[in-house]
Amino acid sequence: MNPSTKPKLAVWKFASCDGCQLSILDCEDELLAIADRIEIANFPEASRQVMDGPYDLSLVEGSVTTEHDRKRLLEVRKQSRFLVTIGACATAGGIQALRNFSDVKEFTSVVYARPEYISTLETSTPISDHIPVDFELRGCPINKEQLLEVIQAFLIGRKPNIAPHSVCVECKLSGKVCVMVAEGTPCLGPVTHAGCGALCPGYARGCYGCFGPMNSAQPKSLAQQWKRLGKSDAEIFRVFHTFNANAEPFRSMEKADAD
């Protein structure tokens, strides 16, 4: 294929740990096939060579935590024909969205020797709070197979096959035994968005909710069952307030069950 006719890919980083964009490089077996089909035009983690926009496909990692990033994001949207957010930071605000439930000024005064140098927003918010997004790929980190699926779907012009239902469905499709029913292990699977392939229940652990709330999550009912399994209100508050704390309905668990 003539390089000039290949769709151009750009990868953008906002407030994040880089783990999700590194999933692209983690596609070792498929990387050559990807490079064969797509011009990797702007991906600083992979290459110093940066081509100018506009770009056909932008993958956006990270959340918006500064005014500078908010403005930069508007520019990214202008330069992108198709924009996909990748990972819990970009889709929900990430672990750094815990600031949304606290006093950022107090944090900065404790953490930094010269807090006046810090210029930050009061909140960490998902990309879709600021610009229209074409698709959101969940996970902390994202699943490499799902990323490939999104790229394949983009190339062929179809909707990605990314199921929005519970992790429980993944457990059952793969024949895993429910750790909550068979062992009494508290698990977030029933309220968590599928995508990881039910990784933790496969190792006899409860789900940690890395992919955030599924499309019809009922966390209040699940929290009642966690209480019956011996978890305290404080522990329950904590499990809903990790990587996807800012995503509804996990976010609302604050008032209902924290006291």
């Binding site: 059952k172 499709l173 024949g175 029913v181 029933p190 009912s221």
Partner: protein, 368 residues
């Protein structure tokens, strides 16, 4: 054919498994990850000998005992639909260059199921109506089902969530099977009484030269199953249920259930008769190869009722109502049978322990 009975000791049972495996891929119960699941088995050592399960709504616990019984447990999280109607199956593939659709072959050695309970026989018959009967039988299901050899087991114990007697599906196996086993324990003497139902089963076991059971063994086997039926803890009245469910779409109970229901779809995944699936088309990076897959889906998944313009059943209450009303009422109109066989899996494996019999009874009795 005329019912023929034999009596097996453990050595005979082992030889029976061997002779079955000379013709079939044998699947049966085995212990994995704190549950009795169905997997490939080779010898009696793979079976859950001595394991018993304690079940309650939202709860399943496995415990090892000194009992010599191989089938002292009841049904676990999986059902035989995982083999007859696999969770994921490729239907066809196509290459861009030839543009020829290649139907997937999915070759498989004929299967034998060991330890099929009466409720599971009933469930297989329900899925037969869905997949095998009618004008468009499912070729994959049909072939696997036609080749299937069934070694059933009469339950001599039941869990607190079992209610086969209410659904007229057990505990004695009456459906289509090849062999049916009943374990009999008389002090330290452990024997298995075998009922032979099919000609091919008779031919298969002929070389084993099995013993005829004593009248006492036959009576003990019969008694054990009858006692189990008499002492089954859970009962469920289905009289007038179809009409009352079909006439109660606005019952306030639906909203009450929705406060507890997680929408997680576990009940439908573990149900041995639930048959809903979705088709998924995949393409690879080159764009030259496409495949169509079928995989289990559920009426509890919001996106399952998605059509142009949005989802039809948006609320949890509407999805629970769809499931329960279809299972216990509309199924009669569609397939001439109930969709529930009384196995209790949906009660045990609901993470919050929602009890189908309790909810249906509440609707029927007009409780809120």
């Amino acid at each position: 054919m005329k019912e023929t009975l034999y009596s097996l000791d453990i050595g005979d049972f082992e030889r029976l498994l061997t002779v079955i495996q000379s013709h079939f891929e044998l699947y049966g119960p085995t212990v994995r990850d704190s549950a009795v699941v169905y997997e490939k088995v080779e010898t009696t050592r793979d079976l859950p000998q001595g394991w018993v399960d304690d079940q309650a709504p939202g709860r399943y616990r496995l415990e090892k005992t000194d009992s010599p019984l191989f089938f002292g447990h009841v049904v676990g999280p999986q059902s035989w639909k995982k083999y007859l109607f696999p969770a994921r199956e490729q239907l066809w593939s196509v290459k861009k260059e030839s543009a020829q659709v290649k139907r997937s072959a999915n070759p498989q050695k004929p299967m034998a199921f060991l330890g099929v309970r009466s409720c599971e026989l009933a469930a297989i018959e329900v899925q037969d109506k869905v997949f095998s009967h009618g004008t468009q039988p499912d070729a994959f299901y049909h072939r696997r089902r036609n080749d299937l050899f069934i070694v059933a087991v009469n339950c001599t114990t039941s869990s607190r969530n079992c209610f086969c007697t209410s659904m007229n599906s057990g505990p004695k196996c009456n459906g289509n099977f090849d062999l049916a086993l009943t374990e009999v324990l008389d002090g330290a003497i452990h024997r298995i009484v075998v009922e032979v139902k099919s000609k091919r089963a008779q031919d298969l076991i002929a070389p084993l030269h099995l013993k005829t059971p004593s009248p006492a063994e036959i009576a003990a086997a019969q008694h054990a199953v009858e006692e189990n039926a008499k002492t089954m803890a859970r009962s469920f009245s289905t009289e007038g249920l179809k009409e009352s469910l079909q006439n109660s779409p606005d019952h306030p109970r639906w909203n009450k259930i929705a406060e507890r229901c997680l929408d997680c779809a576990n009940c439908t995944m573990v149900c041995p008769t639930c048959f809903c699936s979705s088709t998924v088309d995949t393409t690879d990076l080159t764009g030259d190869n496409a495949e169509r897959w079928r995989q289990w889906d559920s009426c509890f998944n919001l996106e399952f009722s998605y059509i142009h313009g949005g989802e039809i059943r948006k609320s949890t209450a509407s999805r629970y109502r769809q499931w329960l009303t279809h299972k216990l009422a509309n199924w009669w109109d569609q397939f001439g049978t109930s969709g529930c066989v009384g196995c209790g899996r949906c009660i045990s494996w609901c993470p919050v322990g929602i009890d189908l019999t309790e909810e249906a009874t509440a609707i029927q009795e007009g409780q809120e």
